[in-house]
C-alpha cells in the first residue's frame, strides 16, 4: 500500500507542482490522469525518490520512503516519461547492467529474466544492437523491459505507451494486466481510454491537486443522467460556453458536437447520453476551472 499525504512541491522557479496531494494506492493499476503540466511526473518522480517534497509524507507499507528512499528503490520499477540510453551499449548489456543495479545478482537468473523480457518486448532479435540506435517504439519497449527487471512491487510508469503503435500498446496493456495482480502500478497518462481499460482506480490531477479519485466506473456513475449532447455551429461555441458547462467539443462527421454537464436538459436540441470516463475527467477539470482543450 502506497499512502501519500498532503504532498507539496514547489520548484525554485516558483511553479507549484504538487499542492497537498493525498492518495492511497493499493495493489493493481492506479491511473493518474491529468493535462500537461498537471504535476503527474512531479508526483511520480517524488515517489521514485528522485526529488524531495517540500511537505507531506509518502509511506510504502507504513515506511516513510521520503526519509528512507532506499526502501522504495529496492521495490521500484520505473519507466520515466522521457528517458535516454548510453551510446554504443547493446540492449542485452544495458539490461544486464541495470539488473545488477536492481539487485539481480545471480548471473543465470539474470540471464533468464533478461531473455524473457527481451522476448516479451519483442527485442530478442535486436539484443546485440546498441539501444541508442533503436527507433522510438523499440526504445520504449526497452524501457518497459528495464522497468520489469528484478521483482518490482511498485511500478511507476509515466506515459508508457507514448510512441507505441496500437499493437504494441495492446501488448503492453496485457503485460501490465498480468503483473498487476500482486503489485502496485502507478500509471500516468493523458489517454483516458487507457485508464478505462486498465485501472482499478484512478485520480485526476490538475494544478498539482487531486480533483477527484475513485474507481473509473464510480467516477462515471457520478455523472449518470447529467451529460447532454448536441450539435452546434462552430462559430457559436463561445456563446455556448458562456451559457452552459461545456465538458468537451469535438467534430463528428464534420459537425461540431458539444457535451454538456447539467442536472437537467440545458435546452432544446440537447439529448441525454451515457457518461464516459472522459466526461468525468473533463468534469473534474471544470470544477477546478482549468482550461480544457479540445479532446480528439
Amino acid at each position: 500500500m502506497l499512502s501519500i499525504t498532503n504532498l507539496c512541491k514547489t520548484y525554485p522557479n516558483g511553479v507549484r507542482a504538487l499542492d497537498g496531494v493525498t492518495l492511497d494506492i493499493g495493489t493493481g493499476i492506479f491511473g493518474l490522469l491529468g493535462p500537461n503540466g498537471a504535476g503527474k511526473s512531479s508526483l511520480m518522480r517524488t515517489i521514485a525518490a528522485l526529488q524531495e517534497p517540500d511537505q507531506g509524507t509518502i509511506l510504502w507499507e507504513g515506511a516513510d520512503i521520503v526519509r528512507y528512499p532506499h526502501l522504495v528503490r529496492e521495490i521500484l520499477g520505473y519507466l520515466p516519461q522521457d528517458f535516454g540510453v548510453y551510446p554504443r551499449i547493446s540492449a542485452e548489456a544495458l539490461l544486464d547492467h541495470l539488473a545488477v543495479l536492481k539487485g539481480v545478482r545471480d548471473k543465470k537468473a539474470r540471464r533468464r529474466q533478461i531473455d524473457a523480457l527481451l522476448e516479451r518486448t519483442n527485442l530478442t532479435q535486436h539484443r546485440r544492437h546498441a539501444v541508442a540506435q533503436f527507433s522510438g517504439g523499440m526504445r520504449q519497449r526497452f524501457g518497459i523491459a528495464q522497468a520489469l527487471l528484478g521483482e518490482p512491487r511498485l511500478m511507476i510508469v509515466d506515459e508508457p505507451t507514448a510512441g507505441l503503435d496500437p499493437e504494441e500498446r495492446n501488448r503492453f496493456h496485457n503485460l501490465l494486466g498480468e503483473i498487476a495482480a500482486d503489485i502496485t502500478i502507478l500509471l500516468s497518462t493523458h489517454i483516458v481510454e487507457d485508464v478505462q481499460n486498465l485501472c482499478g482506480k484512478a485520480a485526476v490531477l490538475a494544478g498539482g491537486r487531486i480533483l477527484t479519485e475513485g474507481r473509473p466506473d464510480h467516477l462515471v456513475a457520478q455523472l449518470k443522467g447529467r451529460v447532454w449532447r448536441r450539435t452546434v455551429e462552430s462559430g457559436s461555441l463561445a456563446t455556448w460556453r458562456e451559457r452552459v458547462t461545456v465538458l468537451s467539443d469535438r467534430l463528428e462527421a464534420g459537425r461540431r458536437t458539444i457535451r454538456v454537464l447539467a442536472d437537467s436538459s440545458p435546452g432544446a436540441g440537447f439529448e441525454g447520453c451515457d457518461a464516459a470516463l472522459e466526461d468525468a475527467y473533463f468534469a473534474a477539470l471544470q470544477t477546478q476551472g482549468t482550461e480544457v482543450g479540445a479532446c480528439s
Partner: protein, 1172 residues
C-alpha cells in the same frame, strides 16, 4: 541575416552563466598573473618582457576555457536537441557557422581582453617576492595582447572550432584542448624553449626554425630578448618584427586554414562527415509477435552483502567500455604516446652538449612525470566531468537513480573510473618508457622502477579527481563544473602565493619529487612522501563526505538517515588527515625541524643583521681535527663528534672566540672549548662566544670538541649537499660543523630577497683581501656505517674494520688548505690504477660501470699533464667517488684527493658513440684541475678569485681535452659556452665586471672564462701558458693568497701589443663583438672576392667606433672544409668593403674561424661566395 545571427549569438552568449562566470574567472586569473609576473631575476615585475611572458601564460591558461566555450557554442544545438529545428531552417550553413564563429571570437576576445585588464590591475600591486616594479606602461599590455595572447588564443580557437564543427563531439573538443597543451610541451621540447627544464642553446639554423615552429611564440619572444641586457629587458617594448612577426603570420595563416577546413566540410546533417550518421534500428510492426509467452518470472533481488561491490564493478565496467570505445580516447592515447616518446627522445637523448643519458628507468620516470603535470589535471577535469554528467546527458539518470544502487556506488564508480583512466595513461607512459629502453638497447631489469609513476603520478592525480567529482556534484552546469575544476588548480595556487604559503604540498594537486637514484635505491623524500600523500588522500576522503551526503540523484540532494559509507569515509579521511598532519608536524617541527623558505630567508637576513660584524673580528683557524661520524642510513640519522685544535694565526692575542654552526634540523652542535667559558649562546643562529681563560697568543694552540646529531626527514626541497638516505648518503660536513667567525655563505644572495628583507644589495667582493696567515688543516675522519655499505672521504684510508655489524673507515689527510671536507656512503665497487705513484681509484655503484674507464683515463691524462706542466701533486692518491643524483645541481665537486661525481650527471651518461662530445672526460679533467686551482692554490677571498679557480680549470680541462680530441669537439664546447654567457648576462642586475674583478657569476667564471682561456692558449700557445702557470703556481701556492691581478701579471709579463692588448681586453675589460659577413662576391674571372664586413665592438656597453681589429678569415670548399691557411685582415669597426684573394675552389668564406672574438651570433660569420 548574417548580422542577425551574430547579434543573436552575442546576445545568447552574454546571457550564459558559463560566459559570465568565465569572464569573472579570467579577470581573476589575469589579476593573479599580473600579481605574479616574472621575467627573470632583477627584471621589473611589470617590464614589457615580463608582461609579454605573462601573456603567453594567459593564452595557455585560456585553452581550457576555449574548449568549454567552443563546445558550448558549436555543439549546443546537439546538446539541447535543437539540431532538427535549426538545421531545417532556411539559414545556409555558411552564415550559420560564420555567425557562430564570429560570435565566439568576439566573446573570447572580450573575455581575454578583460583578463588583460585584470593583469594590468594585478601588476599594480606590490609584486611577489620583493621584485621591483617599473613604471606602468599600457603599451606593453597592448602589444603583449596583440602580438602574443590574442594570436595564441585565435590559433587554439580555430583548432577547437574545426574539431567541434567536424566531429560534433564534446570529448573530441576536450581532446583537442588537451592536444593544445601537448603542442605547447611539444613545441617547448622541440625548440628547446628556455622555459622548459634542461633547455639547451640551439644553433643559428635551429633557432630560425624553432622561432617559426613554436605555435605559441614562446621561442621567438625569448629569442628577441635573448641578448638584451637588463636595462633593455626593463624598458624596451616587445616589437612585432623579424622572427616574431613571421611566426605570428605563419600561425595565423594556419588558423585561418583550419577555419576554412571547418567551413569546407561542415554540413547540416547527422555527422559532419559523410558516412558517420547513426544507423537507426527499426522493427516493423509485422515483426511484432503475438502474445503467447508466459509471464515474466520475477527474480528476487538481493541487496545483501556484496551487492554494492557487484554494482560498482558493473558500473565501472560499463563506463570503461563507453570510454574505451570512443574515438577520442584513441586520439588521446595516440597524442600521449607521441608526446611521451618525443619527450623521452629529446630529454633522454640530448643532455648537456647533446650527450644522451643511458636509457635507465630511474631517469626515464622523472622525464615522464613532467608531461603529466601539464596534461594530467586537464584530462581528469574533462573526462571526470563527462562521466559525472554521462547519465544525465544521455537521460538515463532517472532510471539509474531510481534503482537501489547505493549512493556510494555512484560516487565510487566515478572515482574508480578516474583511477582506471589515470592507470591507463600511466601505463601508456610506462609502455613508451619500456619501448624506449628496448630501442636504445638497454635491458628491462629495472622495470619495477616504473611503479613510481603509478604511485607518485597516479595517486596525486587520483586524489585530485576526488575534488573534481565533488565540484561536479555541487555545480549545476557541466561547463561551469569544468571551469571550477580548472580554477581549483589556479586559484588554489594563486591563493597560496598570495598568502605566501610556500609549501607546494598544500596545493590541491601535489606531485612528489619522483626523481629516483639507483645509488640510494629510491627517492629523496621516502616516508615524507607517504605522509604527504596520506594527507591528500585524507583530504580527498573528507571532500567525498559532503559529496556523498548531498549526492545529486535526480533532483534530490540530501541523503537522509545514517550513511554508513559517508561515515566510514569521513572517519577514514579524518584519521588519515589527522595522523598525517600529526606525523608531518612531528617530523618537521620536533624530530627534525626544518624551516620553510620564508623562515629560512628571515633566518639568513637576521643572521646577517646580527652577526655581519664578526667578519672583521680576528678569529682562530683550525689546525687539526678528528671527526667521528656514525651514520644510520635506515633511520636517516647520524651522530658527529669532533675534537679540534686551533691556532691564533694573527699577530694579536685573542681573548674571545666566536663559533657559528648553521643549525641543522633544529639542532646546534654542543661545543666545549677547553679553558674557556661560554659567554653567549644564540640557539637560533648557532652562534656561541667563548671567553678564554688565558688570551690565545699568536701561534698558540687551543682545543675544542663538539657533538652534533643529524636527523633527516625528507620534507622540503632536496639539499643536494647534505643528505642521509638508506642506500647512499652525501654530506658536505664541514659546512655544518662549528666554524670560526661569520658564516658568509649563508647570507642572502638574491637581490629580490635582500630587498624584501630590507637589506642593502650584497656587497661586491673586495678588490683585495687582507693578508692573513693560514695554517694547513690536518684531518682524521673515523666513520661507520652498516657493514653492507662503506664510507669514502678525503685522504688516505689508514684502516678499515668491522665490528658489531658496522664497517669503520679511518681516513687521514695531513694537509688541506682549508677546513673543507665531505664524505659519501653507499654500496660501492671500485677500479684502481696507479699513475706515477699516485693511486687512482674510481668508486661507483656496481651497476654504473659504463664510464668508469673514461674517468680513470681522464684522471690519468689530467694528472700527468698537470704534474708535468705546473707542479707536483703532493698526495699519494686521487679518488673519484660517485654520489647520488640528488646532488645533480653540480656535476662533480673536488676536494683534496677526492672528487665527488654525481650519478646522473656523469655515471649514467651514454658515451658509447665516439662522435658524441666526451662530457665525462672533460668534466673529470676539470675537477682534477681543481686539485691545483682551488686546492693547492687557494686564492684570496676577493674579486676575481674565481678566475684563479674555475677560470684556470677551464683552461686545464681544455688543455687535456685538446690532447685527445679534435678542434671540432672543442669548438662545440666553446660555442655553447659563449651562447650561455650571452644568455645569462642578460639577467645581470649590475654592470658586468671584468673577469679579473668578477664575483660569483657563473656565466663569467665558466663561460666567458672558457673563451678567455681559449684566447690565451690561441695567442700564446699552450706551452708558454703552461710555463707561466707553473711559475704562478710555484709562487702563489698555499698558504699564499693570490689575487687575479697576480695571475694576470704573470700571464702578461713581457707580452707586446696587440697580443697583450687582446688579453687585457678579455681579462680586465668587458668587450663584446658582433662580426658579420653579409656579402661575398667573386670578381669576374679572378681569384678575388669582394667582401662586405660589418663589425661592432662594444666596450662596457658603449660602441667603440675607432679601434681597428685584426680579423682572421679563411676560405672553405664545397664540403665546408678549410682551404689553405687562415688569413688576417685589419678592419675598422663599422661597415667596410675589402678585396680578398681566395683559392679557385673556394665556395664560401668564414671570418674568425678560431673564435678569437666573443660574439653572440656566429650564424652570420659564414657566407657563400656569389659568382656573378
Amino acid at each position: 541575416m548574417f548580422l542577425d545571427l551574430v547579434r543573436f549569438e552575442l546576445s545568447y552568449q552574454m546571457r550564459q552563466t558559463l560566459v559570465q562566470v568565465a569572464t569573472l574567472a579570467f579577470f581573476v586569473l589575469g589579476f593573479f598573473l599580473g600579481f605574479s609576473l616574472y621575467g627573470g631575476p632583477d627584471v621589473y615585475a611589470n617590464a614589457p618582457f615580463s608582461i609579454a611572458y605573462g601573456m603567453v601564460l594567459l593564452s595557455l591558461s585560456s585553452f581550457f576555457g576555449l574548449a568549454l566555450f567552443t563546445a558550448n557554442t558549436v555543439l549546443r544545438d546537439r546538446t539541447f536537441g535543437m539540431e532538427p529545428l535549426i538545421h531545417t531552417t532556411s539559414v545556409g550553413f555558411f552564415p550559420f557557422l560564420a555567425g557562430r564563429l564570429v560570435g565566439l571570437v568576439t566573446i573570447v576576445a572580450l573575455v581575454s581582453a578583460l583578463a588583460v585588464v585584470g593583469m594590468a590591475l594585478g601588476s599594480l600591486l606590490p609584486p611577489m617576492g620583493g621584485r621591483e616594479l617599473g613604471p606602468f606602461r599600457p603599451a606593453a599590455y597592448l602589444i603583449g595582447y596583440v602580438a602574443i595572447a590574442l594570436p595564441n588564443i585565435l590559433i587554439g580557437l580555430s583548432l577547437l572550432f574545426c574539431i567541434a564543427a567536424l566531429s560534433r563531439g564534446q570529448i573530441a573538443v576536450y581532446v583537442g584542448g588537451i592536444g593544445l597543451f601537448m603542442a605547447y610541451v611539444f613545441a617547448g621540447v622541440m625548440t628547446n624553449s628556455p622555459i622548459m627544464a634542461q633547455s639547451k642553446p640551439l644553433s643559428a639554423d635551429e633557432t630560425s626554425w624553432a622561432a617559426l615552429l613554436d605555435p605559441f611564440a614562446v621561442f621567438p619572444l625569448f629569442d628577441q630578448v635573448r641578448f638584451w641586457d637588463l636595462t633593455a629587458k626593463n624598458t624596451q617594448l616587445i616589437v612585432l618584427e623579424g622572427d616574431l612577426l613571421a611566426n605570428r603570420l605563419l600561425w595565423m595563416t594556419l588558423a585561418l586554414m583550419l577555419c576554412c577546413l571547418a567551413f569546407r566540410f561542415f554540413r547540416f546533417r547527422e555527422g559532419a562527415l559523410a558516412g558517420t550518421s547513426a544507423r537507426v534500428v527499426t522493427a516493423p510492426s509485422a515483426a511484432v509477435k503475438a502474445d503467447g509467452f508466459g509471464p515474466v518470472a520475477p527474480v528476487k533481488p538481493d541487496f545483501g552483502r556484496g551487492f554494492a561491490w557487484q554494482a560498482l564493478r558493473s558500473k565501472v565496467g560499463l563506463e570503461m567500455r563507453l570510454m574505451l570505445r570512443g574515438v577520442p580516447l584513441v586520439v588521446l592515447s595516440l597524442l600521449c604516446l607521441f608526446m611521451f616518446a618525443m619527450v623521452l627522445s629529446e630529454e633522454m637523448g640530448r643532455g648537456d652538449m647533446g650527450v644522451p643519458f643511458q636509457a635507465r628507468a630511474a631517469l626515464i620516470v622523472a622525464e615522464l612525470q613532467e608531461p603529466f603535470r601539464f596534461i594530467g589535471p586537464l584530462v581528469l577535469v574533462f573526462f571526470v566531468c563527462e562521466w559525472c554528467w554521462l547519465a544525465r546527458e544521455h537521460r538515463i539518470d532517472a532510471v539509474i537513480d531510481s534503482t537501489a544502487v547505493p549512493a556510494v556506488v555512484l560516487w565510487a564508480a566515478r572515482w574508480l573510473g578516474a583511477a582506471c583512466l589515470i592507470s591507463y595513461l600511466v601505463t601508456l607512459a610506462v609502455v613508451v618508457g619500456l619501448g624506449y629502453q628496448l630501442v636504445r638497447g638497454a635491458g628491462l631489469g629495472d622495470a619495477l622502477v616504473y611503479l613510481r609513476l603509478y604511485s607518485l603520478v597516479g595517486f596525486p592525480l587520483w586524489f585530485f579527481a576526488g575534488w573534481v567529482i565533488a565540484l561536479q556534484n555541487f555545480v549545476s552546469n557541466k561547463y561551469l563544473g569544468m571551469l571550477a575544476g580548472g580554477g581549483l588548480l589556479l586559484v588554489g595556487r594563486g591563493l597560496r602565493q598570495l598568502l605566501a604559503i610556500h609549501n607546494p604540498a598544500l596545493d590541491v594537486l601535489f606531485f612528489p619529487n619522483i626523481f629516483y637514484s639507483e645509488m640510494s635505491g629510491g627517492g629523496y623524500a621516502l616516508t615524507a612522501d607517504v605522509w604527504l600523500m596520506a594527507l591528500h588522500l585524507g583530504a580527498a576522503c573528507l571532500v567525498a563526505v559532503p559529496t556523498l551526503l548531498y549526492l545529486r540523484r535526480g533532483a534530490k540532494r540530501k541523503a537522509f538517515g545514517a550513511n554508513r559509507a559517508a561515515a566510514w569515509l569521513g572517519a577514514t579521511g579524518a584519521i588519515l588527515t589527522l595522523t598525517a598532519l600529526l606525523m608531518v608536524f612531528y617530523q618537521t617541527q620536533i624530530e627534525a625541524p626544518f624551516p620553510g623558505p620564508a623562515e629560512r630567508e628571515q633566518w639568513a637576513a637576521d643572521y646577517e643583521r646580527n652577526y655581519r660584524h664578526l667578519a672583521t673580528v680576528p678569529q682562530p683557524a683550525y689546525r687539526r681535527g678528528k671527526v667521528t661520524v656514525d651514520l644510520y642510513p635506515e633511520r636517516r640519522a647520524g651522530i658527529v663528534k669532533g675534537e679540534y685544535s686551533f691556532v691564533n694565526p694573527g699577530s694579536e692575542p685573542l681573548r674571545e672566540i666566536t663559533l657559528s654552526a648553521i643549525p641543522f634540523c633544529g639542532t646546534v652542535p654542543q661545543v666545549q672549548v677547553e679553558r674557556a667559558v661560554r659567554k653567549t649562546y644564540d640557539a637560533r643562529f648557532g652562534v656561541q662566544t667563548f671567553v678564554l681563560d688565558e688570551p690565545l697568543a699568536p701561534g698558540a694552540e687551543g682545543f675544542l670538541n663538539f657533538t652534533m646529531k643529524l636527523q633527516f626527514s625528507g620534507y622540503g626541497p632536496v639539499d643536494g649537499e647534505f643528505y642521509i638516505l638508506p642506500g647512499a648518503s652525501y654530506l658536505e660536513l664541514s659546512k655544518y660543523l662549528p666554524n670560526f667567525g661569520y658564516a658568509a655563505q649563508v647570507a642572502l644572495g638574491g637581490n629580490a630577497a635582500r630587498r624584501r628583507q630590507g637589506l642593502p644589495p650584497k656587497e661586491a667582493w673586495p678588490e683585495r683581501a687582507t693578508e692573513s696567515a693560514r695554517p694547513w688543516f690536518a684531518m682524521e675522519l673515523i666513520a661507520s656505517v652498516p657493514d653492507d655499505q662503506r664510507v669514502l672521504s678525503l685522504g688516505r684510508l689508514a684502516r678499515e674494520w668491522e665490528a658489531d655489524g658496522r664497517r669503520y673507515s679511518h681516513f687521514v689527510q695531513d694537509q688541506i688548505s682549508d677546513h673543507w671536507f665531505a664524505l659519501a656512503a653507499g654500496h660501492y665497487a671500485h677500479q684502481a690504477s696507479e699513475v706515477d705513484g699516485v693511486a687512482v681509484s674510481v668508486w661507483y655503484h656496481p651497476d654504473h660501470e659504463a664510464n668508469v674507464a673514461t674517468m680513470a683515463a681522464a684522471t690519468r691524462d689530467a694528472l700527468t699533464y698537470y704534474r708535468e706542466r705546473w707542479g707536483d701533486y703532493p698526495y699519494d692518491q686521487l679518488r673519484i667517488v660517485e654520489i647520488p643524483g640528488f646532488s645533480r645541481r653540480f656535476g662533480a665537486t673536488s676536494y683534496a684527493t677526492t672528487i665527488f661525481a654525481v650519478e646522473s650527471r656523469l655515471f649514467v651518461l651514454d658515451q658509447r658513440d665516439p662522435e658524441q662530445f666526451d662530457m665525462v672526460y672533460r668534466t673529470i679533467s676539470h675537477e682534477v684541475g681543481h686539485q691545483w686551482w682551488g686546492g693547492l692554490l687557494d686564492p684570496a677571498p676577493a674579486a676575481g678569485a674565481r678566475l684563479l679557480t674555475e677560470g684556470l680549470c677551464e683552461y686545464a680541462e681544455a688543455a687535456v681535452f685538446a690532447q685527445k680530441y679534435p678542434w671540432s669537439q672543442q669548438q662545440r664546447l666553446l660555442d655553447e659556452s659563449t651562447a650561455r654567457y650571452f644568455y645569462m648576462r642578460g639577467y645581470d642586475a649590475k654592470a658586468e665586471p671584468s673577469l679579473a674583478r668578477m664575483g660569483a657569476q657563473i656565466h663569467l667564471a665558466y663561460f666567458k672564462g672558457a673563451h678567455a682561456m681559449h684566447l690565451l692558449a690561441e695567442l700564446l700557445g699552450r706551452d708558454q701558458v703552461d710555463q707561466r702557470l707553473a711559475a704562478f703556481f710555484a709562487q702563489y701556492r698555499f698558504p699564499a693568497q693570490p689575487h687575479a691581478d697576480d695571475l694576470l701579471a704573470v700571464l702578461l709579463d713581457g707580452l707586446e701589443d696587440p697580443v697583450r692588448r687582446r688579453l687585457e681586453e678579455v681579462f680586465s675589460e668587458v668587450v663584446t663583438y658582433d662580426l658579420q659577413l653579409p656579402r661575398a662576391e667573386r670578381e669576374a674571372g679572378t681569384s678575388q672576392v669582394r667582401v662586405s664586413l660589418q663589425t661592432v665592438v662594444s666596450r662596457a656597453g658603449e660602441v667603440d667606433p675607432l679601434t681597428p681589429l685584426t680579423l682572421e678569415w679563411r676560405a672553405l670548399d664545397a664540403d665546408g672544409k678549410p682551404l689553405g691557411a687562415v688569413q688576417q685582415a685589419v678592419v675598422k669597426p663599422g661597415w667596410e668593403e675589402v678585396l680578398w684573394t681566395v683559392p679557385r675552389a673556394a665556395v664560401a668564406l668564414e671570418i674568425d674561424p678560431r673564435r678569437l672574438y666573443l660574439e653572440p651570433d656566429r650564424s652570420d660569420n659564414r657566407r657563400l661566395i656569389v659568382v656573378p
